[in-house]
Symmetry: C2
Subunit: 377 residues, 2 copies
Amino acid sequence: MDRPNIQKINMLSSDFKKQYLRTLANCDNSLFRHPQRTMTERLQSLLPLAAQYSEADCYGQGELVNEFEQQVAAMLGHEAALFLPSGTMAQTMALRIWAEKKHCNQVAFHPTSHLQLHEQNAYQVLHGLDSCLVGKLNEVINRADLDTIHIPLAALLLELPMREIGGQLPTWKELEAQQKWAKSQGIALHLDGARLWSCSEYYQKTLAEIGSLFDSVYVSFYKDLDGIAGAMLTGSAEFIDEARIWTRRLGGNLITLFPDILAAKQGLTDNIPLMPDFVAKAATIAKLFNQHFPTHTIPLCPPCNLFHLVIEQSAKELMPKVMKWSEQYNMALLPLPRTQTDTSCRFEISIGQNALKVSNHDWQKAIASFAHDIILD
Amino acid sequence: MDRPNIQKINMLSSDFKKQYLRTLANCDNSLFRHPQRTMTERLQSLLPLAAQYSEADCYGQGELVNEFEQQVAAMLGHEAALFLPSGTMAQTMALRIWAEKKHCNQVAFHPTSHLQLHEQNAYQVLHGLDSCLVGKLNEVINRADLDTIHIPLAALLLELPMREIGGQLPTWKELEAQQKWAKSQGIALHLDGARLWSCSEYYQKTLAEIGSLFDSVYVSFYKDLDGIAGAMLTGSAEFIDEARIWTRRLGGNLITLFPDILAAKQGLTDNIPLMPDFVAKAATIAKLFNQHFPTHTIPLCPPCNLFHLVIEQSAKELMPKVMKWSEQYNMALLPLPRTQTDTSCRFEISIGQNALKVSNHDWQKAIASFAHDIILD
């Protein structure tokens, strides 16, 4: 079950990848997330907010960080929050805290969870937790899946949206049923909300309403929010007090994290109001791919600002053509493949400010031309 | 043995402490480390270096970080290095790696080690290591102390200089004897070099010569080097490959750490050439305290840029007087006490750029006046 849907095949040389990324960076139009900024531009963008605070955070204390923590806790319907360097730190400590509280070292998550695929088994090697993988590989976890769990659990981790399967979301009814199940079993419910910010639209619920279903929530600031790095863990005041101790242990209680905090706060302010636009644009663009491409997007109708796209060509065959097309059309349409097989490439498209800058009509033209030149060629 | 020399007594209210720190920040002259900078000033100071690199580090890769790692590895006489968010992360993972390599979970360090006092027992709770405390409480570890160890060890951690006992250093002969002992026993020797930068003077050895005695070295960038945050772990290429995996597990492999890296690199460039001056100034200033104060500095003749100072008054009695004096003389002479008893305060003085700005004659006048007004009053 290790790395179940992540093909380790990689047909692209490191030189090609560098060249491809440079080509994308030089395009004036891009489908992915936010405008690329140099370090200089990033640092300069923090100056106005920096000027509003008399001092940086110091070992997790100070107005800048504590006020931001309160802001995000309230946004997510929780009592308290803790700013952390990374999601890996946030989530493993959350599960460890629940395991100790429930006197049980077993935790459940989907086989494509970040903990299972991308953290070198930290939950196991570092925290002594055992995992119970739940749900079908390419589908969201549903209430019926939980009935297959026959071991005691400290916590169940759900991810909204589920990144590795294209940003799929369970229905609100499903979520409520799963929350009810966890509650009835005395199991803590933890949310991997790395990309939660765009989920309000689909559920027609506030982030606080979504967050309130969970005992603890992790959110990220550098993905859809365009921060530098950093995460927030939210929960009860008691839970966050515990988390502060674990942060110290994990080496995450730094003398200051002020550049990350400033960028996170700015990113939140700038991008949260645009989430409905990102989600609408993602739906439109997925539709265009589905009209012009022989394969369909995953999911077919993206509920949030993220979807995947499969092209049935090997990376070695496909990507040089894509690079040439990008140069010719001055447009970054596909990132490097997220996963590959011998005969296909899977791409992850996250919609942000960049996609909004190009009209739907121009996206239609670009995607049609791309399909004509490269897919149907 | 928990927190052996750190008195938990704290007679100062949090309001007083804030007010005191504000007073110090407003003084034009200061004895401590480097000029205080606002977040704005810090960010602006990074701009020239940021402009020299085309892109930020990404998950530990890229010219900016890898070139800096190579630079510091070479400085410390090692093959490879890894930039990390914190020293806690660096040191616990170093000991964990040695423990796994040596198939032994016992590691030795001084009772005042950072691992013993300030990390919420991470080495134990998170890494399953057992500690063997070695050496006398207020003295450096010597070769004879090692003969009292009668259990197998994976690693011995030495700290240079030893922060909690005023920056004391063992002699070079002692160091060599301890290294020989560790080697003969097949025990890895790890260096807590958080403040190593100022040790070259005393030993009349390069940092590389000092570093070469050890199998792994941790150094810090935000203390004497005036960086933002961050640490480096150095060792063999094989050791650092292992460390990269542990960094992932600990949640320290961030999408970018560029502000910390830029500030660390700049801090190294700016402050390493000044280390001999810091050390000489520390010796001079300690001498002045010893001339004018009834107590003597710890150590009496500081071998590096750090020393401690004890004043035989309670914090409650002493510190309001110190605050008033600081306002009157426009001079920050004492930080908040590092430790307290009912009848005494212990202060840590780290010498950096600030102390150099005031002539020895003026320091003499200030310290004499302070002693007259407050100590001998």
